[in-house]
């Protein structure tokens, strides 16, 4: 019992971590590459959740299709936003960036409540995904299993893409040294746009997949901001792997701590963040 209990808790932590990572990785890159403090990043995750759930609930679109559509839609929508609002502030005063992105958070929250009401969006899962799933080592929630599987798949694709593709090479170059990247003739403004869209799309995936873990409400972007920021700060700015480890750490530590010492549930995650940042101010994978 104790074993399978601990197992399901850790398993759940990993599932939560997958969602956190998908949402946060884009934020890490935008902050690292464009040096942009994008407090509105959660908005894209929220948008993803809304699009997906309403496609499923109103038009009965199957989950995978709705998820893909949501990601694509959000990625596309993010392009004009980046062009019209964000790009002017690149390399500018981070406080202006804070003001802009917080403004967007407020507006999106109000819009969401106006369109879909204050009630959270239900996620009606196909019957197969409800309840438990029997694996070799014991029974685990089926949806968590799906989260981990799809999350792992996405992560692999993303990493390979960044490692292998030309686009990925450009991104890495720009993160390492923007000036250098420009001087070798990379069209950074275009690169920024595409990277931003990619990050937003991933966030949308995370928001959609995680809709049952982090419920989709108008307050989404603000309520969960701290979690996203913690992951980015611990993981280290501007890299792809750091946030993954950070997300695992946060997800698993969070759920196991709550399981073992519920009375200190919230404290420990903060304490851990503090400790790590004091030990490695630039995060676990941050470049010194």
């Amino acid at each position: 019992m104790a074993f399978s209990a601990g197992l399901s808790v850790v398993f759940h932590g990993v599932a939560f971590a997958m969602v956190l990572y998908l949402i946060s990785v884009g934020l890490s890159v935008t902050m690292g590459m464009m040096g942009f403090v994008n407090l509105a990043h959660g908005v894209f995750a929220m948008a993803g959740g809304y699009v997906m759930t309403s496609l499923m609930n109103r038009y009965g679109v199957p989950l995978p299709l709705a998820l893909g559509a949501a990601a694509a839609a959000v990625a596309l929508a993010s392009l004009p936003i980046e062009r019209l609002l964000y790009r002017w502030l690149y390399g500018g005063d981070e406080l202006d960036q804070v003001l802009l992105t917080m403004g967007l958070v407020f507006m999106s929250g109000a819009t969401a409540q106006y369109l879909c009401g204050a009630l959270q969006q239900p996620l009606r899962l196909p019957p197969g995904l409800n309840g438990g799933l029997h694996l070799g080592f014991g029974e685990v929630p089926a949806y968590d299993a799906l989260l981990i599987a799809s999350g792992a798949a996405l992560v692999t694709v993303l990493w390979l893409g960044i490692e292998r593709s030309r686009f990925g090479a450009k991104i890495r170059a720009a993160v390492d040294n923007l000036r250098m990247a420009q001087s070798v003739g990379i069209d950074t403004s275009r690169l920024f746009g595409l990277t931003f869209a990619l990050g937003s799309g991933l966030a949308a995936l995370g928001g959609g997949l995680g809709a049952s873990l982090i419920t989709i409400t108008p307050g989404y972007a603000l309520d969960n901001l701290v979690y996203f920021l913690i992951v980015v700060a611990i993981g280290g700015l501007g890299n792809i792997r750091g946030p993954f480890l950070a997300a695992l750490l946060v997800g698993v530590a969070d759920s196991t701590c709550k399981y073992l010492v519920p009375q200190f549930g919230a404290f420990l995650i903060y304490a851990m963040t503090m400790a790590i940042l004091l030990w490695r101010p630039r995060g676990l994978f941050g470049r010194a």
Partner: protein
């Protein structure tokens, strides 16, 4: 040099433009409605407001000739100090005859003392913090207290022959109330509490806590969260971990199961037993009429819940006062009227105000979620008539 000069001017102008005094209508009953339209309980606020507005819409015609109603709605943004300031302004600036509304106990607790100072009646249509009416002689509550619901369900659980219970509640005052009430009820009934957890108010993830319950293998688990999206999250964890398949019964107050959340929680809710003062599936003529009006006003999609009915009844009480006094009443007359008010046909059954505590007396229903022709319904399986708030009887005012 004059940088700040221009700036200050801008601010001053902005203030001047914005603050042009509100016009006052003659011969009207002014009701200041303080509600949490934004913030983390916006959903509940919406339900409550719909209930209030619906009553006004349905019964405005019944008002005595010449009496106009002026509802001044203010958003406390779910923050006590804001709510307090709004109350202060409503009393001192808008000279309202009554204050009504308030979702959150902290806000109500912040507002209540002002009503004593400003001598304005304050009709609480939700905030369930058990001791609030004692903060001011002008507070009257038409909603409920958590003791009123938690104690009976504890008793009921014990009557089912369940010996051991595990409580798991949100770590803030309301949660503590619910926990204490259930514990008292269950132990009075001869049961034994074998574990009690409290989870952080901002908690995205309940699996670890539910796992603890599962490990402890109690006969019954009392799970309580404030009536918000958390209800869905915690029920998902219950389903994922197969808590009931493990032979653990689950009870709560209606906060775990607001009617509009029921379809969202889905089949996971089947068999769940809660105590509450209202469920849409109650078969009462008053309720049928209420729901008919609701559908007319808000369509089939919108689902009423106990917030809506509490708001509705609050307005009903205020309307009765206006009718009885032709809209012209002093604070003391109002309070005297409220203290003895009775609502024989509320959608939630007969209700009344207890003159001693100015708190609601009402039936508490034990409800069970069943699937009736393909649709989930929270069916009343037992009625505990005219329950007074047990806490005030256990802790008489000094």
């Amino acid at each position: 040099m004059s940088r700040a000069l221009f700036g200050s001017a801008v601010a001053l102008v902005a203030a001047a433009v914005a603050l042009s005094p509100a016009t006052v209508m003659a011969q009207t009953v002014k009701i200041g409605v303080i509600n949490s339209y934004s913030g983390f309980v916006a959903q509940a606020a919406d339900e409550m407001q719909k209930g209030m507005d619906l009553y006004v819409k349905e019964h405005e015609k019944d008002l005595p000739a010449g009496v106009k109603l002026d509802l001044i709605k203010r958003d406390d943004t779910s923050k006590p100090d804001v709510g307090k300031r709004l109350a202060q302004e409503l009393i001192a600036r808008d000279h309202v005859n009554l204050l009504a509304g308030v979702i959150l106990s902290p806000v109500a607790a912040a507002v209540a003392p002002l009503t004593a100072e400003g001598r304005v009646p304050f009709v609480i249509t939700n905030a369930a913090g058990v001791a609030i009416p004692r903060l001011s002689p002008y507070v009257v509550r038409v909603s409920f207290t958590l003791w009123q619901e938690g104690y009976p369900i504890g008793k009921w659980a014990a009557q089912q022959g369940w010996k051991t219970a595990y409580t798991s509640v949100t770590d803030f005052i309301a949660g503590h109330d619910a926990e204490a009430a259930f514990t008292k009820g269950f132990t009075d009934g001869g049961g034994k509490i074998i574990g009690a957890d409290r989870f952080p108010p901002a908690n995205p993830d309940f699996t670890p806590f539910i796992q603890r319950v599962k490990d402890a293998k109690p006969d019954v688990a009392f799970l309580w969260v404030p009536a918000q999206e958390q209800a869905v999250a915690i029920m998902k964890a219950v389903k994922d971990l197969g808590l009931r398949e493990a032979g653990i019964n689950i009870t709560s107050t209606q906060d775990l199961l607001p009617d509009e959340q029921l379809p969202i929680i889905g089949d996971a809710a089947i068999g769940l037993v809660t105590s509450g003062n209202y469920s849409v599936d109650a078969k009462r003529p008053a309720n049928t009429a209420f729901l008919a009006a609701w559908k007319r006003a808000y369509g089939d999609k919108a689902i009423a819940d106990f917030f809506s009915v509490d708001g509705w009844d609050g307005m009903a009480m205020i309307f009765d006062l206006i009718k009885a006094t032709k809209g012209d009443f002093t604070t003391d007359q109002a309070m005297a009227f409220f203290k003895t008010w009775k609502g024989p046909n509320s959608p939630r059954g007969p209700i009344a105000i207890d003159p001693a505590t100015r708190d609601i007396v009402q039936n508490i229903y034990i409800r069970k979620v069943e699937k009736i022709d393909g649709k989930l319904a929270d069916v009343e399986i037992q009625t505990i008539p005219m329950v007074k708030d047990p806490w005030k009887e256990l802790n008489p005012a000094k």
